[in-house]
Symmetry: C5
Subunit: 380 residues, 5 copies
């Protein structure tokens, strides 16, 4: 058991490296984590992943159309009071290393132990579970951090209940800031809607985050195509390869999203109201568009490889032509010079008055013939 | 939210460049638009895309079997009167930057806010929505502008209601002129049919427009194949690559069309009468044919790449052969000349009466042997 | 509208060229037809395609188990009398350019205008329509014309009614001659069966015609494989490419056939009797076999390309080896000769009695060492 | 009509050649058969395929749990008596050229004419037909003949009736010998079971025969991989290509098998008892395994091609390096020697006492520098 | 019959070699086993596979929430008493060569003969059978043996009955040790659950074992990518090829797992309680993740091949450039020297005072021009 956990976490980091590798400002260190769970039964909760924070940060936003409160709570127990109120409660947990918090939430909100495991073990395949009393969603969140100029990725788990949404993140910083603003300022209709609309808003923000990454990759592809046309180097090849790997990873994160969201849409759970259905359809359309783009990018990248390879061939061709032109002109001339460098006693030409000039004429004629030949072959 | 909008618009432009790149007379400027929507709630309407027109142009065509009127209206409110009449009304909006017009239409015709967003955010994946009271379709329109000799593409949104069709375009100029003529002159049965037949006619015109593009691409493929056989260059490779990219883009626009139209066909909406069904089937067949052709073109283009690569190899081969022939003939001769250029005191050959002539004979023999060898190898 | 017609006709010709290109005796002229229909409403009938005949030829075969008559009729109206008789009537139209004939048939047999359009617009994707009162099928017919040694392709449309089959061809000459013979001579059970069996017989003859083409392509592949193994040239590459294009076209014609015939089979139309079902199953099996073969050929052709490319590499390798052997043997020898061609005053070797002989020995030793080296490297 | 027959038979032979080509001891002659059926109506029975036997051999095995008899019958009519008995009768026909025998069986056992055609026309796609009163199966049988060391393939047709199985083979020799033994000696439960179990046993023997072929191909792949790593040649390439073609053919024979057997399994025919179902499931599993292996082999073979191509490149690289090393060392040296071979009157170095030795030092220094450079470049 | 057995066992070994080949410490011997079963009826039980153990080891673990006993039994009959008790019994058989034991189990637990065959014939495709009274599962188990540093693979068969699980392994040593510990120490809820939970735990442990292998392969890919970027060699190519083959094999083992486990999940057998369903879903998710990773690895490996090939090209390019630079600089210089080495009587330059110096200047000028040219071409 739990070989899986170690593995999924390491896969997860593998990508981080790859992506950082191509966004140069991110740090590259990689710590080989040892399995923290080997030998434990499946019910035991252990956080697998880098400890990204000093302490877990818990924030609660509680609202309905008329009221609103937001607070940073020190202990998870402080949130539990909201469970009884009819208002929409959004509990956000930043940091997964304090297992006891997750356990308490699990007990209080009646979450299945396997769900708690999925929350803690980063590197999950995006998926959706429709369980009695709540809906569980786990997926990857990508975001570009302006400060470090790096693409950051982390696993986000969402639990939708009758009057609450709980979100679990690995570290502080997310793509939800605008949603918070909209709740705070009662912009749009988010305050009038239930927790299913909040769930939609969170998913939509995460999927929108993918477009940000894709835009960056698109820019990269474009700039690399210019490089390819101009002056491709071994470095270009490495970059193409990195892009390819990123697409491999993105596909892994994006394809399951499709099932996930269409599952949510078709779900017959009473937790998702009919009026919200159209919004989930919208997220679904965006997901399809992300998938389409990922596939198009894959096509483009493999096209770039073809161009790169034929650029190399072309350059080799150019090198060969120069060599051939120089060699085929001078080798015969050198031969001629060699002939009259021979020391035979009887070589009548050597005594001719115009011998030397004649040789030059011969050599010029050879050169001319060669040049005409190369022109005809279009090598010059 | 709305990261998506910025993104989709930029993808959209990416293609424009690509296509223009290969149809040389189009202008190439590309303005990097900044996100106009970042931070707004999902309900807010903002036009994302280039502002292509100074002012929005609104035209109304209202007809039934016996009556017909067409007018250019300054304000959108002037169209609303037609909603109450039983005649078929076609409202065409050229230009999307005046959001208030879209909003007013939305309010008057009861369109869902997400639909209005889809209309405004160019770069949508073609799709079809069957909503209560109306059917919404969004897709790409391609047309070749004879004046600028460029392929123009824009997003077209169509809304079909009980007695009206509203079409939204980004700029003036479309593939609908013949339909207008047919309505004006009561050619064919368009004046006898309802708005669903008008919807069909518009879709049919758009899909027919794809054949125009494909024909052009087909011509291009053909002329490039001749170039390939004749004298391929690095430029040829770039053109192949551009064609490939265009096919990637076209696929993205064309594949979803299939679902879209088959969705329309199978739709159980009462807005589409049974008699019009066969016409939609016809459009569907054309769409399949477009898809088939796009796929065939992809096959052909990848075949061209293979030919290009092997042409390069062949040429390198030819260069190498010339070099080898010249070098292998003259290097031994030069050696022979070098031998008799040595200054040893005791070199009996140098004193022979026929030494010099003998050396020439030897050299001719070597040359002859080489030529025979090359002939046998079929290099000459 | 009708951009499609021009397009489909030109696609159609594109292939003709390709196929003719590889069957050298066919003529190559290609006339760029201008759109005859641009600007007309969808109901207007215009023949799009080359005018292949001077005048339309109409033949009628009318039979039942006991009676038989066959005649060439000058006017289409002469056929209409057969509609009322219980016998099976087969009307064959060679030539599509006289639109009025098609129109009259359409009126008399109650065919939908869109069906008439499909008949006239060559280049249709093979398809099947089950309409009220009749079944419509359109597909491509291939046949090898012994006279011109060319593969001829034309569009065939079949209409199956309660007691008639109408077939539309572009030109005289088809694969149906044996069927006519069987009807004339009451061979087999064709005379005992209804029009659905005649329909089957026609489809079967067309699909059997595909095997003829495939056999020819198979022969070509085989002969080209021998060429590949023997002496591949740039011409070989072009032939491979042509074959590939033909397969692309054939796929386009063949894949839809599958749906078409399985559609016919599963059709619940009363026009096709249960006893004929097994015969359609037989045609279906043949179609699958055609598709299988086309796919296998595609595999083989792409394998041939691989072989071609590696043949080129191998040959380049051989050229390089010759160059390298010659150069690496003679360049050191020339150097040695050059050394003793220097004019230093103090060069003791020049005065040695056996200096010259010694140099020859050194040079022979170098040559021997090189040869041993090349032998060990297996270059000789 | 019947173009198909000629075609399928020739395809069939095409493979035979290919396979024999790679199993060198088989004979290679190929007779181009002319269509024997062109112009005949579909009901006419003609054997299409090579006549492999002098006379048709008919054997009957009749058994139940207690009784057993086996005999070689001269005339097919001698078998017909068994139809009335309740025992299981297995009639095996070796040789298809005597059409009258097939016709008599068809009449006596009430087989549909199209089924009789399928039996006679070798080169059928494997298929399964569930007809009233009997089940018909046609597939390919492969077997390795120890005597001729060749892979033999022939078409086998099986007809399962209420108390009989009829098998049709093209020639004597099959993979059924063990089944005969088991019936003769009442080994296993075959004598206790009905004709459906016999059918299963025959199919199982045929599918098991595929593993024999695959094992041979696997061995071949393995030995070729060793060759690839060691010393690949043009011959290796040809062998890879042959293997690839064989896989193309095998796929064609194997993929339809899947449908065939799953069709048998799911068939609701009363001819197959429920208890035999599990056995058919077993054959199905084996078929899937055959398909899996064929696909894996295809992957491996295409991997071998990649290795082959890069081996060629590597070797070319090696050749180039030798040339470059020799040339770049000696060309400068030759130049130096050439300089002091000039005949200028005023060349002070020529008169220096240590000039000659100095030149040697310079030349050694150049050589040394070159060698260091090559070492650093890892070319030496 | 049984050709299949020989074959499947040899496939099985083929992989072992491949995997061992890349994990160098494992032993490489491969004994070509001869078919032990050829000619036997399908009911006969014969073990096909290497005899991996001296004697068969049978262990029984019997437990419920309160009681627990574990013992090593010498004879299989000693286990049969547990069948009557209500406790959960786990019988584990290490070693398959003693057919009589398998037979006795088959008789006692009423297993179908074909199931017994599947257990004995290693090399089965993973599959699941839902039979009356028990569920049968066969799949591959991979584990890394720390002692021998080799990846070990063996076939595991599991039989789930109303109150027992029987597991069959080829050799001692498995991935179940932690499960045994959990049962012994009553860790987690395994002691409180039934045999279906035990079944889940075993499957989960096996699937988790796959992650261990994948992690190793991932490490390998990463280290090889570094090698590729640094200094790729022919050995690298071989390693890429080996990895590719391993992926081919892994796919074969992993893809059927998906069906297998989803089959178990959807099974309507009463042997699997509803509460265990979610656990099987968890295993299913892990399986999907294994498949995803295998596919991603395949993508990466084929990307590595591209890089390898273009690295070779790049290197050839570098070699060519060096050759070209040296040759194009010195060949003209050598020619110049050759000219003034000619022995014409009338060569005025030879007598000039500054002739020699002038020649040097000319040669320096040529060299300079060449260097400028190469700089501009970016070859230097």
């Amino acid at each position: 058991m739990r070989e899986f956990d170690r593995w999924s976490a390491s896969w997860y980091q593998l990508f981080e490296i790859s992506l950082e590798g191509s966004y140069p400002m991110a740090n590259r260190k990689r710590t080989k984590r040892h399995s923290k769970k080997a030998g434990l039964p499946p019910g035991t909760l252990v956080h697998v992943g880098e400890r990204r924070l000093e302490s877990v940060r818990i924030t609660v936003i509680d609202y309905d159309e008329n009221s609103f409160q937001e607070k940073l709570v020190p202990r998870i127990e402080d949130c539990f009071a909201f469970k009884a109120t009819p208002t929409v409660t959004w509990i956000n947990i930043d940091g997964l290393h304090d297992v006891s918090i997750i356990e308490k939430i699990g007990t209080h909100y009646d979450l299945h132990p396997l769900i708690l495991e999925d929350i803690l073990h980063v590197g999950q395949r995006p998926k959706f579970e429709d369980l009695e009393g709540y809906i569980f969603v786990v997926l990857m969140m990508f975001r570009f951090d302006d400060e470090s100029q790096a693409v950051l990725s982390e696993q986000v788990s969402l639990v939708l209940g009758p009057n609450f949404v709980i979100s679990f993140q690995e570290s502080i910083g997310d793509v939800f800031e605008q949603i918070r603003d909209r709740i705070r300022n009662a912009k749009g209709k988010i305050r009038k809607m239930g927790p299913d609309y909040l769930m939609y808003a969170l998913l939509d923000a995460i999927v929108d985050g993918y477009f940000g990454i894709l835009e960056r990759i698109g820019d990269k592809i474009e700039s690399m195509e210019e490089e390819l046309v101009g002056d491709p180097s071994q470095r270009t090849l490495r970059q193409i390869h990195n892009l390819k790997r990123e697409m491999v990873f993105l596909r892994r994160s994006v394809w399951p999203l499709r099932e996930l969201i269409s599952g949510l849409q078709r779900s017959e759970s009473t937790l998702i109201k009919e009026t919200t259905g159209l919004y989930f359809k919208d997220v679904y359309d965006h997901t399809i568009q992300v998938i389409d783009t990922v596939e198009s990018f894959r096509d483009m990248i493999s096209g770039m490889l073809d161009i790169y390879l034929s650029s190399i061939s072309n350059r080799m061709n150019a090198v060969m032509k120069v060599l051939t032109i120089i060699a085929t002109i001078f080798i015969p001339l050198t031969f001629v010079a060699g002939v009259y460098g021979m020391n035979f006693e009887y070589m009548p030409e050597l005594k001719w008055r115009w011998g030397y000039a004649g040789v030059w004429l011969v050599m010029l004629a050879i050169t001319g013939a060669m040049i005409v030949y190369f022109k005809r072959k279009k090598w010059l």
